[in-house]
């Protein structure tokens, strides 16, 4: 037996009532499964589109149930008596079901157009019924002219006409409304058009061969099945889409929660460390203070000197801890800028820092225009200034000069601190902003510091999306300059 023969035999079988029964039974099972899938999705997520699909596919399933019942009674019980009634019910249900399915598939377009579903359906139902009626009359007149059989005209021929109208109408509707978003548009249109082939072939059969051409009626059979498979596929894809979307949403939510937890842990860690390290320091400072002030009995000068050392070292330790914690905060993802507009001049003229230079007999020249308003994090910019200034004080010999300058350019503002100290060797420059880096030959042993100040400055500048650069010439001095974007585009 060749393949062609096999196929021929199969289609022949489908053309018989038994074949039809088998096909309809399979369709019934399909629709029941699809309906179940949509209903289970609907119970989780009550979307109107799903409700529509449920009604449409339930109608299809009921139609197929009727068809199975009627074909089964026909095949197994020879129930000829009911043939005509059942045929009408089956055809009528089929056309209603097709109408509902078509509406369910274009539902997203209705939503986007802001149309009410019930109104939309009522309008289009009347339109389709009218068009179908006119075309049916047209078919009737052709049949009449040809002298063809008019038996079953209103239960069969007109139903075929109506099917063609419904399917082509909605396919056309989707094509005309291209600009609206409809997922799997092509599949849906293809399914409608493929389905249309069956009533079209049936009509040809009726008009040309008085519904007696067996080959044509056999040829008409597979198309609804194919298009129904496409419908099922579209529904399946829609549901899978939703499921994967929900999955990915859930996953990203979980990830977000975890990240939040981690950053909170880190935040808590910084606070805890801050508290734990500073508590003993506070005790040390208070008790050395009490001792030094003679509150716990009088002390010799040597004892007082010793306490002064302890106190100084406590301060040093405190500075180190503060710097480390600041750096840790700057490096954490949570580092945020607290932006405000302020006058840079106010920051650089803080007496507290200028006095430090004065104590070391260093001259300070401030070249910052008044009303130099910038938008940035005030506290952090102040820290940048303090760190750079302290650094300059450390490495400037007595009688030296530190220059603090600032100027506004079109879109940026530039801030610079320069000294006329020893300068830094070229080989040291690239590492200058690394944590714990110390330019040893630039730094004498008597100068304190942990190599964190410039790393903090760099961190703050980076957070402001600014750029820091350093120019230095051994023996002549060093100049740190920072360029910030002027407006708050951080």
């Amino acid at each position: 037996m060749t393949l062609a023969q096999l196929l021929h035999g199969f289609f022949n079988f489908l053309g018989t009532t038994e074949g039809e029964l088998l096909k309809t039974a399979v369709e019934l099972i399909f629709f029941t499964i699809v309906d179940y899938m949509i209903i289970s999705e609907w119970t989780r997520n009550r979307k109107k589109e799903l409700k529509f699909l449920i009604i449409a596919f339930s109608a299809l399933a009921v139609d197929k149930l009727f068809a199975v019942y009627f074909l089964a009674t026909f095949v197994f019980a020879n129930a000829h008596a009911h043939f005509w009634t059942l045929n009408i019910v089956d055809n009528f249900l089929e056309i209603i079901a097709l109408f509902l399915v078509a509406n369910a598939f274009v539902y997203p377009i209705m939503r986007q157009k802001g149309l009410r579903a019930k109104r939309f359906m009522a309008d289009h139902f009347i339109l389709i019924a009218a068009v179908s009626f006119v075309f049916s009359l047209f078919a009737l007149s052709i049949l009449d002219l040809k002298g063809g059989s008019l038996q079953d005209f209103w239960t069969n021929t007109s139903i075929n006409v109506a099917e063609v109208v419904v399917l082509l109408y909605y396919a056309g509707y989707i094509i005309v409304n291209q600009k609206y978003h409809l997922k799997y548009k092509t599949n849906i249109v293809a399914a409608f058009i493929i389905y249309t082939l069956t009533p079209v072939i049936n009509l040809f059969n009726i008009v040309l061969y008085d519904n007696m051409n067996r080959s044509l009626s056999v040829a008409a059979h597979p198309f609804p099945f194919i298009s129904l498979l496409i419908f099922v596929q579209v529904i399946y894809l829609k549901l899978v889409d939703k499921a994967t979307l929900q999955d990915s949403l859930k996953r990203s939510q979980q990830m977000y929660a975890r990240e939040k937890e981690v950053s909170k842990l880190k935040d808590d860690f910084v606070s805890t460390v801050s508290h734990e390290l500073k508590t003993p320091l506070t005790s040390m400072k208070l008790y050395t203070g009490l001792l030094r002030d003679g509150r716990l009995g009088s002390l010799t000068n040597k004892q007082k000197d010793a306490l002064k050392v302890v106190n100084g070292e406590t301060d040093r330790l405190n500075n180190l801890i503060t710097d480390l914690l600041d750096l840790s905060r700057l490096e954490s993802k949570k580092a945020k800028l607290n932006l405000s507009e302020f006058d840079l001049d106010e920051i650089v003229r803080d007496e507290l820092y200028l006095n430090i230079a004065k104590r070391e007999s260093i001259r300070t020249r401030i070249d910052v225009p008044t009303n130099c308003y910038v938008t940035a994090d005030r506290d952090k910019i102040k820290q940048v200034f303090i760190n750079l200034f302290n650094n300059a004080v450390k490495f400037t010999p007595p009688k030296g000069t530190i220059t603090v300058s600032a100027r506004l350019r079109d879109a940026d503002w530039e801030f610079a601190v320069s000294d006329n100290g020893k300068g830094i060797g070229k080989d040291k420059l690239p590492k200058l902003f690394d944590k714990f880096f110390q330019a040893e030959d630039y730094m004498t042993r008597t100068k304190g510091g942990f190599g964190l100040g410039l790393a903090i400055v760099k961190g703050i500048v980076d957070l402001h999306k600014g750029k820091i650069s350093v120019d230095s010439e051994p023996g002549k001095g060093t100049r740190f300059s920072i360029v910030f974007p002027k407006m708050s585009r951080y």
Partner: protein
């Protein structure tokens, strides 16, 4: 023991060493009482009605912000001066303190003299 004319200060601080040092620093000029956790602190505030509270922020069972907030809600207690003393040194921590209504803020570690002058200033 309470000398007349002396203003009263309540120290709420869970670290015994720090609390003792603070008591020594302030003891000459003020009537000082101490509480070592948040709930006891709030109880003592209600009982003693001090003129000023030296308030640590990280405390067992009830934080300093919470205590200060509670104080400001109570019409009988809302005039008590609050000096927050804490290791938290971020501007945001300071802002939180202002939000709940603290009168002053001192960052740990500090010199004895800093505490004394802050308290004197608030009570003058």
């Amino acid at each position: 023991m309470a000398a007349k004319g002396k203003k009263s200060v309540l120290i709420i601080e869970d670290e015994v060493n720090i609390a003792n040092a603070q008591r020594m620093i302030l003891g000459d000029e003020f009537n000082v009482s101490v509480a070592h956790d948040g709930d006891t602190g709030l109880e003592k505030i209600r009982k003693l009605r001090p003129d000023l509270i030296v308030l640590d922020l990280m405390l067992p069972n009830r934080g300093g912000y919470d205590i200060c907030f509670n104080l400001r809600q109570d019409p009988k207690l809302k005039d008590i001066k609050v000096l927050m003393v804490t290791a938290l040194n971020q501007p945001v921590d300071y802002d939180k303190g202002v939000m709940v209504g603290t009168d002053a803020y001192l960052t740990k570690p500090f010199e004895p003299q800093q505490l004394l002058s802050a308290v004197r200033k608030l009570l003058s």
